[in-house]
């Protein structure tokens, strides 16, 4: 009896700790994700002013900049440590996509250029590309057939 009681208490303590941790994780990912979104918007405004380009072009440059930063941090090994703390705050923005591509490429680099790097670079990033294209094609076809273009 004592043993089971201890087990239950331990389980409850663990549960309490994990829910606390969950709340903290949620707050951290909200904060970090928000910061990245704000940084993106700030970059868009700066690019518009600095290079005199339209807002849609500026958005493309902003996404490329974020991908460059995320790939570089992944290559240095910093991104993994940051993502272990911020979790979804770094994985859901476009930085997560860049991280998945770069980390897959770096892991497979040792197996050679063709059958290592070449065939494994889309190992993780392929999830996003595949399901994005399939869903976009199906939804696009539905909208085309229903006939409500623009």
């Amino acid at each position: 009896m004592d043993k089971t009681y201890d087990d239950i208490v331990q389980k409850q303590n663990k549960g309490a700790k994990s829910t606390k941790k969950t709340y903290l994780d949620c707050f951290v990912s909200f904060f970090v994700g928000g910061l990245i979104g704000m940084f993106g918007e700030w970059l868009v405004e700066k690019y518009c002013l600095l290079f005199h380009i339209s807002r849609s072009d500026s958005m493309a440059y902003m996404i490329i900049t974020l991908i460059l930063i995320a790939s570089f941090l992944t290559a240095l090994g910093i991104f993994d440590k940051l993502a272990a703390r911020a979790k979804c705050g770094l994985l859901i923005p476009i930085t997560g996509f860049a991280h998945s591509m770069t980390s897959a490429a770096m892991d497979a680099r040792s197996e050679g250029l063709i059958h290592g790097l070449g065939s494994n670079i889309f190992k993780l990033g392929g999830i996003v590309i595949l399901y994005g294209i399939v869903s976009a094609w199906v939804f696009g076809l539905l909208r085309y057939l229903v006939g409500g273009l623009s």
Partner: protein
């Protein structure tokens, strides 16, 4: 003002993802694919376009905008060249992001060596 809106929108998306990740058995791969599909779904009735107008760059940063850009490009191309446009316009808008990710991943993998 757009900065604050971006902060709250992008943070809110990440918050939903974190809640999904920690309360269910889904892996980060599942969560990101769910968000891409939902982004594509939101653009079927041009809802995401309004979100981008209202929230600015904050709505373009999360992975949901990837799905939105895919379907947006294909629908815009379908407007011009009919049925074939759904196939041809798929990468019109996301091409820069995908190309950048591939190029940077390739060169960084060549230059740097993995730690651990």
């Amino acid at each position: 003002m757009l900065l604050v809106r971006s902060f709250f929108f992008c943070g809110f998306i990440c918050l939903i993802a974190q809640v999904l990740l920690s309360n269910t058995k889904l892996t980060p791969g599942h969560v990101t694919s769910i968000f891409v599909v939902s982004g594509a779904f939101l653009d079927v009735f041009s809802i995401y376009d309004k979100l981008v107008l209202f929230f600015g760059g904050g709505a373009c940063v999360p992975i949901t905008s990837f799905g939105h850009l895919l379907i947006h490009g294909s629908l815009a191309h379908a407007d011009k060249s009919g049925f074939l446009g759904i196939f041809m316009g798929m990468f019109d808008l996301t091409a820069s992001g995908i190309t950048a990710a591939i190029i940077f991943a390739f060169f960084f993998a060549l230059i740097f060596k993995p730690k651990n």
